[in-house]
Amino acid sequence: MHGVSALTTTTALTALLVLVASWLLIGALGLVQSNRIGWVARTLFPLGALVALGVAGMGAMSLGTGFAAQTGVLAFGLPDMPFHVRLDALSGFFLLLLGSAGAGISIFAAGYFRHGEGTAPGLLCLQYHVFLASMALVVLADDAYLFMVAWETMALSSYFLVTTQHRIPEIQRAGFLYLLMAHVGALALLLCFGVLHGGSWLMTFDSMRAATLSPAWAAAAFLLALFGFGAKAGLVPLHVWLPEAHPAAPSPVSAMMSGLMLKVAVYGMLRVSFDLLHAGPWWWGMLTLAVGLGTALFGAVFAAVQTDMKRLLAYSSIENIGLIFAALGLALLCYAFNMRLLAALALTAALLHALNHALFKSLLFLATGSVLHATHERSLGKLGGLIRRMPWVAALALVGTLSLAGLPPLNGFVSEWLLLQAFLSTPSIPHAFINMIVPLGAAVVALTAALAGYVMVKFYGVIFLGQPREPSLMQAHDAGWLERVGLAWLALGCIFIGVFPQAALDAIAGVTQTLLGTVVQRGPAPWWIAPVAQAQASYSGLWLLLGMAGVIAMMFVLVRRMYHGRVRRVPPWNCGYPELTPRMQDTAEGFGQPIRHMFGPFFRMEREVPAADDPAPRYRIQIDDHFWHGLYLPLARIVGWLADALSMLQRGRLAVYLMYSFLTLIVLLVFVL
């Protein structure tokens, strides 16, 4: 990598800016012939995917050893406040994530968007690429001004994408909630940057790094950042917009929001807490860790009882964000006790899980898009048996499913393994209370990971396996080749990281080196990791895969050699019951029933159980969030009440308003004199 980095010391940042600009250009070109699918989808989106690959490549380059951060000043912005941009290992890693997952999503989107689904394709293309470009700019920004401009552009463009089908009232509501939460979060960030400059009134990140804040102000900045970025990432209790907005958006947009945008929030949290605030006292870590673990468990439990496939994935995103923030909190905690290696291990787990989640969650959201197009159904209760009608999507979604369930030898397992290893080393923290509480976090992580397995069996089993629950599903068709390529790209990413985990760890090493000044130990081979010490723990995805594949192949051959491979097709046995209808299978509600039973207090349940003599019995259950009814609705009521109270001032009579002006003038005069 030395030679490469020497070549690119001046050009990588420029190239990235050109790539971002070309995203904007591609978006603008969509307006030229905004209704021609052939132009917008088949030409512009694949071009956008190529640009995404370029962004990923540039991001990967900046992760090489010996890469020095590059800065630049753009001639845009306010007269005295030009835009500053900076490329370092942290932004490089997130650009790699953005580009590699974004390329797959764009290729899929090329085959996905069509007429008659709300916004015109050309306009959609503009919003889509502005969204991508703004995320890249957030990551590249080196002053608070550009950061906030890009952050707001990201929120607005994604709002328009969410409300693509804006005529549906439900989607309008989801969009409004999203916009509201995005702005509450943005306000917190604005205040956070207001604190961070430390009285210098300079908005560049450089001056914020140099600023010395009193512990109280630093804590205020940290809490504001946790609130602001947490609202974007979906930390409990700021998660309410996520399960509404993700299902409302078209699937490639859901994939971008869940796979990419939530990671941009993680980036922001890392940038502010580690880079600008240089980490802080241990309670920052404890707080983040506790919020993260709570979010993870909450998301997993709620995902298990969902009946809408995209809502299920949205809750699963909340779970994964929780795990990422838990790892981040652990890193902050260990850093506060000056345990650099352990902090690096936890941070590596956080970053790798972010990358993994970007890959497998995008893959699954896109797969739901294919299912949605093939069946026009989002409800799990009306799907089933699609593995026979859509073998490609089913096979590729299986990879994502197994990754998300955290199973070896795929990528989800690697990051969970790292996180557990980090937790296992926490008894050595030199604090008598923390070193007993924190290791128990491993129990929560283990429980969450196991619940994720439950959720994924439900997701895959109800959609793709079993018998079709509706007759119309027999007409379902497999995805087109562009969609398959997009899915396959993401699935290959999942397999690659799972099998060659050290390659991903090498990429992350640059980030931990920049932020913490330490890297985890290098494994003996690209397929072999041993982040702490070879004697403590090591893992090799490739060998595990070879071991399993070897046994499977050997058994396959042996059985056929020694016996035979004959198969007779017969009707299913079903314990001898002659009639087998699709309604006999578990529904999504049925599959989630044990979780509902066990975690009852988590939910706010409304159940309608039919009476015994009901001629047309109907069982209905609605599961709601306690936070919505206990926190948000009361808040909304208070705000409404305050607004009503203020409206007392609006009398609608000129004389009264003139009196207001007069009174104001008097009061001001009193102050001046």
Binding site: L420, V457, N574
Partner: protein, 317 residues
Amino acid sequence: MNALALVSQLGGVVLAVALAPLLAGWVAQCRAWLQSRSAPSLLLPYRTLRKLFRKDAALATQASPLFRAAPYAVFGAMATAAAIIPSVTTDLPLARVADAIALVGLFATARVFIALAAMDIGTVFGSMGARREMMIGFLAEPALLMVLFNAFLMFGSTALPTIVKGTLDADGLTLHPSLAFAGVAFVMVLLAENARIPIDNPGTHLEVTMIHESMVLEYSARHLALIEWASWLKLFNYACIGFTLFVPWGIAPRTAGPLGLLLAIVWLLAKLAVAGAVLAVIETVSAKLRIFRAPEFLSMAFLLAVLGLLVHLLLQS
């Protein structure tokens, strides 16, 4: 990696695969004796396997490729798991490939595959069994991890051979209170994960209660054989994990020659005989729990293991 290590590595897997049906037969025999029934032959599982492999596979018309692939995947995961458990010797080249966490991951892989396959045909029992199996699984898996973490805290490694070495190298016999908690939790997890009474009964086909059996109802012939074999192998693996954590005496150290390995095999057989008999006793004296008591049983195992962690951390500080 020397030749002996390679031989013991491959030999360990072959031994596990070959002995697993014997262990199942032994447990069945002990159970029969304890219940005053005339016992089936010790070799019955082998005969069952041969019978099943010979038959033509009757496959449901709507079965997808996943359904046919799942038995191989389950067997592959279990055999790979056997490769990383130091049942005879700690000199396992593959044990560095995957540690105890990966072992739990392998078990989870097998479970997810068999649950997915159960949902594939779309029968009543398949999806019911899959749901119950996943319910048991998501509680048992963290409990098992917590048990393993107890051992980790003691020896500072999640690699099983290092844990064995740690116990064998210790001077004299020291009783660790945390391991006592972990031991009870482990036995509970073992019972639940291997479809044993009080959670499940391998000998019944009663619709209302079965878990494991209802998932494999649609399987026949070689697929069923592989699944049965894999579940015996799972029991064998669990027994060996128990040995490595709690009674590692007799496992050959790294320096042992061929004779030491033979002695270790004898030790292993003796321990398996005792463990099988104990398992039969537990199964005979306990009654099967209602399905919704199973979460209580397993959360108790989970809490016991967590308590073990806490006890260790408290005593340490």
